[in-house]
Symmetry: C2
Subunit: 199 residues, 2 copies
DNA sequence: GTAATTTCTTTACAATTGTTAATGTTCTTT
DNA sequence: AAAGAACATTAACAATTGTAAAGAAATTAC
């Protein structure tokens, strides 16, 4: 894994936040103090099914995924890459037991904050409520787009859109994981890819 | 349509908000002034595809649905009933053209606020950011549950869960609309219902 | 660098769902 | 109350997708 200074990580993090709302240097002091940089190897489980999600993770480098387990089969719910806040959100927001697992698909560099620290930070930096609201709104909109694609589009269309939108994930994520994310079997995805390649 | 005093409507609205955060009488003055009570008949289109969603609607009485149009077929994205904030959210939040239509499935009593008034209100009553954040979080969690059901459950299971969770909607909403919400055809839903009734 | 594991593709077959069209039912409208 | 429209069910058939199993390819581990 390449090394990079913590300051640079924090800079890219601040940039992401300031796309939402400008942050004063004083507020930034408070915020950056509370986020802890960590590195985790591939296959690390950050939150496990049955546990309460203690933290959210801003992704500096790497890929995380959420998956559900149904009859010993892992079904991917979402794939997070650089610049996103990842978590088992429902568990984190409600502080209830998760029905999802959060897993590193690559070696990752993350900035993490736990639930109680975030609540404290909300009180110290009220502007963060706006960031929280906008992030929740963005995640809602994103989820709604995915859901509408399940209602409106064929499996093939959905795969094409995924490939168009996330060409890097297509390379970095195993296909059977993409398949379950699209709501189909690996066999079916393989057939779709063959069909497309013939055109 | 039964008549009820505007004061009572506002009371039930305040109650819903206070489940999220206590609101002072002063703040409540500001808030309640800005929401306008309206009544609309069945089949009213509150936002049309291609338009920008001007307002959000708190539902006092009645049912709204969001639908997409694909090759002249209407596909239901969500069904809102009493106590929820309904809108074509993506269009409303981003103030971009909607790819959804918001329709009244029954005669409705609503409290409405338009985008710019809400932005003003956010400035006057900062506590509303918390309400906005929590509502966005709730809608995100709800959307995520629906999406996971599409990934994890069979059509029959999804119908059973819908029937369990919303027995009233089962009565009040036409079945072909429920079918498209579940991501299946009316024919397929009819088969599922028959299969279940035999057990 | 080779063995072991994981991942991807292919095939044959089974199961589910969609499509079309006909029929019956219910709801609206006048 | 009758006519028309909208909705729900059923049947036959077509198309799609899932399942299971086997082999090929790629990746990982020692």
């Amino acid at each position: 894994m390449e090394k990079q200074g913590t300051e640079n990580h924090l800079q890219s993090f601040r940039k992401t936040m300031e796309r939402i709302i400008p942050i004063s240097d004083t507020d930034w002091q408070m915020i950056s103090q509370k986020f802890e940089p960590i590195e985790v190897p591939k296959r690390t489980l950050l939150t496990k099914e049955g546990q309460i999600a203690s933290s959210i993770y801003f992704i500096i480098k790497g890929i995380l995924r959420i998956f559900y387990t149904k009859e010993d089969v892992e079904i991917t719910g979402f794939i997070f890459s650089e610049g996103l806040f990842a978590s088992c959100y429902e568990s984190f927001l409600l502080q209830t037991k998760s029905n999802q697992t959060l897993e590193a698909l690559e070696d990752c560099v993350l900035l993490t904050i736990d639930y109680h620290t975030l609540q404290t930070l909300y009180k110290e930096v009220p502007a963060l409520h706006i960031v929280g609201r906008v992030v929740a709104e963005q995640r809602f909109i994103n989820g709604q787009r995915i859901l509408s694609s399940h209602l409106l589009d064929s499996h093939e269309e959905r795969y094409r859109q995924f490939a168009d939108q996330y060409p890097d994930l297509l390379q970095r994520v195993p296909q059977h994981i993409i398949a379950s994310y699209l709501g189909i079997t690996p066999v079916s995805l393989s057939r779709i890819r063959k069909r497309i390649s013939r055109k």
